[in-house]
Symmetry: C2
Amino acid sequence: MANSRSGDKLLDRMVRILESFTAEEPRLTVAEIAARAQLPAATAYRLVDDLAGQGFVVREGGAVRLGMRLWELANRASATRDLRQLALPYLEDLNQLLRQHTQLSVLHEDEVLILERLSRPGAAVNQAHVAGRLPVHQTSMGMVLLAFAPAHVQSGYLSRHERAVADLHGDFRRTLAEIRHRGWATFDGFLDDTTTGAAAPVLDRAGHAVAALGVVIPRGSDALPAVSMALMTAARGVSRDLQARGD
Amino acid sequence: MANSRSGDKLLDRMVRILESFTAEEPRLTVAEIAARAQLPAATAYRLVDDLAGQGFVVREGGAVRLGMRLWELANRASATRDLRQLALPYLEDLNQLLRQHTQLSVLHEDEVLILERLSRPGAAVNQAHVAGRLPVHQTSMGMVLLAFAPAHVQSGYLSRHERAVADLHGDFRRTLAEIRHRGWATFDGFLDDTTTGAAAPVLDRAGHAVAALGVVIPRGSDALPAVSMALMTAARGVSRDLQARGD
């Protein structure tokens, strides 16, 4: 048991080190890593050495960054690889037809996790990053993922975020029912007040959302009906391809 | 020191477990993991539990697969994220104009690591997977990456693969010089004898390859000159964007 516990602690420290790196700060000194991971400097140095030995991090001059080995391991057998590969041609279609940012996301740990994002120069502002997270009940992708989630996922989310949801939405279950009826969701930009998001669900055979396709457009655009129709059309294409593969 | 050594061993075991999963077999039982990672079953069970606690793996029925958490950590601060985002519009252009598979790769540990791949229904056979690896001196992407690599990288590769390279290429340094002069490389399909690859380098300010753009076409196609011109044009676009960002 002692062995298991110390192993668990070590893994936890390793994860805290890997979590120190972000999209905004992909390069860190070991001192910065130690501070963020809340580790003594000597421990951080030793663990960074161990991680570097596995190619999980690499040293670049005085800095450390995540290594290709970690990326390779995480991507080659990723649960989302097939979904991403299936969805990519549809994301490209939307990106070209609508001339706006398009993205693919899933519901993960009560947040929206961005799996893919195609950007357009000159398109509306979009804060989403690949592998970044967005809140569920403040984004169109989150709302559509939740509206088409199994009942127990909806109930779980509502119980954990009851107050925040009530402040923003009033009758949240009714809002979700409306989204299910309409087939798509829209939400004014949560990080940027000049944009509006729209999203449609990718559905499995049971009719539950496995992912969402989303587009960000300028707020007040009269293109919203056309955008939502394109999104639903593309999302049905991805759903059909996914279901044909037996997922 | 004992602490460091046991930590290193544990990390090594964790990595062997994560390495058990492949594109072809993304779902494994713990017994299969134990066999592939060469661990006693009890150890494999305990470490899989630890990894599941961190979201690095998830249980699905009786099977285990890689978790979203690993994907998220590896992608959000990945060294290749910017490169991939910059190159994606160009890959799409090539994919649409040439109507063939297009891919983005880097040289990594004496192999070609595929960062991105856009496929076309009905295009030539292409065995490459995202996060998959291909050999260097048997693929067009590998040849162009090596031809435009710094001198010490070339020498290192040649010294480690001297015999294999000589068997296949004869005067390899001359072949590399010709590729540098021409600006692109072509190589008959290494995994499939009905295809030919073509590739052009993405260059940094020093003129060294940081990545390669590649296309797979049917062998003997008379489109090769046009394909190579499109590749070089797209690769220059990516290089310019990359250099403009100061990378």
